[in-house]
């Protein structure tokens, strides 16, 4: 598993893809609902708070650089405790995978393929995930590069096409916030956006070539990502107006419905929105690879058994999504759909921080330098 090598740039691109995993249908509608036209204040504060989370991430990443997160757990805790911690972490990531894919499938079923059975949509998404989960992190790194290249092209096309519709008056009133709502949106944004990127801890630092550049790459990528997110929020609010943006479940899709290039390229929203389909599918694949690594570590599976167990882990979420969660989209209103992923992400974050802190303490007690 650990034979692969990826460059610091590829590693950063995987990190960036994971930052996009929960934007569509979770972060966009929630921040617009809470912050309204003052989204830029929430994003500004979130950027600073996010830097703090990235600092923690880098500390964990640099801790025991030859080990992935599961090996770190094994090294820190006694055997049975380490298995329990790994299991809890995997269960949380398992739930996160379900949330990401569930949001993707509900998006597709409610906007593109309204008359297509849920099972069919689930299988449609399962195929690329199934294939991606049989590969290794170097392959997924190349996939991240491809996804971000397409995402960049589509983002540029969408922004340029929609720019003629920007109405700065829609951004007013500029100061439309209170501490409570801003605080809530910052907390939700930082944890839901950043914590999925913490799953890249499954890649040991030593497997990243020129790993001394990782910090700089991550910080650059994070800044670029925040600028992109700001640009998307800016376009949504300035084109639609905050009141329209607020009534849609997927405002980033609604804004694309207004897209009209030179009065003859219209109704292209289904192509333009592919950026999210790609990035969320990638995030799902990476989560499954994380689980595959966890399974191998937890049960010491050989390669063949790992493949079988990973297959099992792919179809369990899908059974859950397609047969149970999908019909209940309507009950997961705007608050519940944020609370559940937020709680999962915070739990993952707390566990990772605890692993790091306990590891540091234990090694300090044992006077082991790492």
């Amino acid at each position: 598993m650990n034979r692969y090598k990826i460059s610091s740039l590829t590693f950063s691109l995987i990190f960036m893809c994971m930052l996009n995993s929960s934007l569509l249908g979770i972060i966009f509608p929630y921040i617009l609902h809470e912050s309204k036209t003052s989204f830029y204040i929430s994003l500004g504060i979130s950027f600073v708070v996010g830097l703090f989370l990235i600092f923690i991430y880098l500390r964990i990443f640099n801790f025991m650089p030859d080990k992935d997160i599961f090996k770190k757990i094994e090294a820190i805790f006694p055997k049975w405790i380490s298995k329990c911690v790994s299991f809890i972490l995997m269960m949380l990531v398992f739930l996160l995978t379900i949330i990401i894919i569930w949001r993707l499938v509900t998006f597709i079923s409610s906007e593109f393929l309204v008359e297509t059975p849920n099972l069919f949509i689930g299988l449609l998404i399962a195929a690329p995930l199934l294939y991606a989960s049989t590969t290794d992190f170097d392959v997924i790194g190349r996939l991240a590069t491809f996804c971000l290249a397409v995402a960049f092209l589509l983002l540029v096309f969408n922004v340029v096409s929609l720019f003629s519709q920007v109405d700065m008056n829609n951004l007013k009133p500029l100061l439309n916030f209170d501490l409570m709502h801003t605080g809530k949106s910052v907390l939700v944004f930082t944890f839901i956006v950043l914590v999925p990127a913490f799953l890249t801890l499954v890649i040991p630092k030593d497997n990243v070539t020129n790993s001394n550049k990782v910090t700089r790459s991550i910080l650059s990528i994070y800044t670029l990502e925040m600028i992109s997110i700001f640009l998307i929020f800016f376009i949504i609010v300035s084109v639609l107006g905050i009141n329209i943006a607020n009534i849609y479940t997927f405002p980033s899709y609604a804004v694309l419905k207004t897209l009209s290039v030179l009065s003859f390229i219209q109704n292209t929203e289904n192509i333009s929105i592919l950026v999210w389909v790609l990035l969320m599918t990638f995030a799902g694949s990476f989560c499954l690879l994380f689980l595959k690594s966890g399974l191998k570590s937890l049960f010491n599976f050989d390669k063949k058994k790992t493949q079988l167990s990973s297959l099992l882990f792919i179809f369990l979420p899908f059974l859950g999504i397609v047969l149970f969660m999908l019909p209940y989209e309507i009950y997961l209103n705007k608050f519940q759909y944020v609370i559940v992923p937020w709680a999962i992400n915070v739990s993952i974050f707390v566990i990772l921080v605890l692993i790091f802190v306990i590891g540091k303490i234990i090694f300090k007690i044992k006077k082991i330098t790492v």
């Binding site: 409610s110 906007e111 393929l113 309204v114 008359e115 297509t116 069919f120 299988l123 449609l124 195929a127 690329p128 199934l130 294939y131 049989t134 008056n169 829609n170 007013k172 009133p173 439309n176 639609l240 107006g241 009141n243 329209i244 009534i247 849609y248 609604a254 419905k257 207004t258 009209s260 219209q266 109704n267």
Partner: protein, 383 residues
Amino acid sequence: MKKFLIFICIVFMCTGCWNYKELTELGIISAMAISKRDGNYVIDMQIVNIVEAGDKGVPESPISVMSGEGTTVADAIRSINMKTSKVFFSSNMEYMIIDKSVTNENLKEVLDFLARDTKLSLNFLIVTATNDDPKDVLSALSQFNLNPASNVSELIRRSEGRYGASHSITFKDYLREYLDKGITPVYPNIHLVGSLEEAEDNETLKESDTDDYIEIYNLVAFDKDGNTINIGKDESFGYNFLTNHIKNGSVTSSCGDNHFTVQTLKSKIGFDELKGNKITIKGEVQAEVFFYGCEESLSDTKTLDKLADLTKDTITDYIKKTILLAKESKTDFIGIGNWIYKNETDYFDWDNKDWDTEGLNNIDFDYDIEVSLLKQGNLKGDI
């Protein structure tokens, strides 16, 4: 082998054959009308028939108009399925007629349906037809376009930019104005001139002179009770100048007993600042002489200054008339309240007071509009 199997699976999944519809099975909706009659919603749909105009003219009507009725908008639309085998396709809809009967408390239901429908775009136009049955307007054919809906939408868009007395409002803007504070949407009011029998007859398409066609009658707004506010030609110009919808509009002013017309090249007018209860309307209009019928020689630069001043007075007069109409009708269709809400939110208690009745009439205006004439056509002076 494993990759091959996965490839085969993906190929079968991505064929796009699931539940597909042939073009002939689709009823492509080009325009729609929503009204309310006897407590029920009535939907009229203009559906495109795929026909080709041959040497002998148009063999059959290029459109079909169908109607349905129901207790909700959705119910009314689905009831049309009892009359046709077509599967409705609404993504290419050009415009929608919102009848006066649904502009009061029923409007929320209508907008809910339109915004919720995942297949509708946000770019179709919203119009009204206060003088006609919406179904009659939808049934009229056009001499200029086989698809009469395209003709109407182009008519509205072009006349707004090139004349200035019309206004095109997309569903996106309409919905925003409905949801925003301190603004009421303005509709282009289309009207069927002549008789319906002639207008919907294919044979009239063969004639070069017809008295039966669709025109833009005027602009209208509706107050909270659904009463019609007719916005006249001058007020429409004023509205479009204030909301910056004019591109190449024409402004005609009098010079003694004669007249001259300028065509705007660039116009940017807006609310500048609120001081006390007074808003300054500030802006700049650049124009060219389009027609000149006055006696003074255009070779004299003082004449050009005078024409600019007269044009400024005309535009200011348009705007004053528009504001007066808004105040008299107690309906802020200009968006004065919306500007105050966005720029001076604390000026008014938006949550507990009604802007139209308690705020609008307290506002006074100052005018600071500059007009400059940049061109005078082919002639260096006058004939």
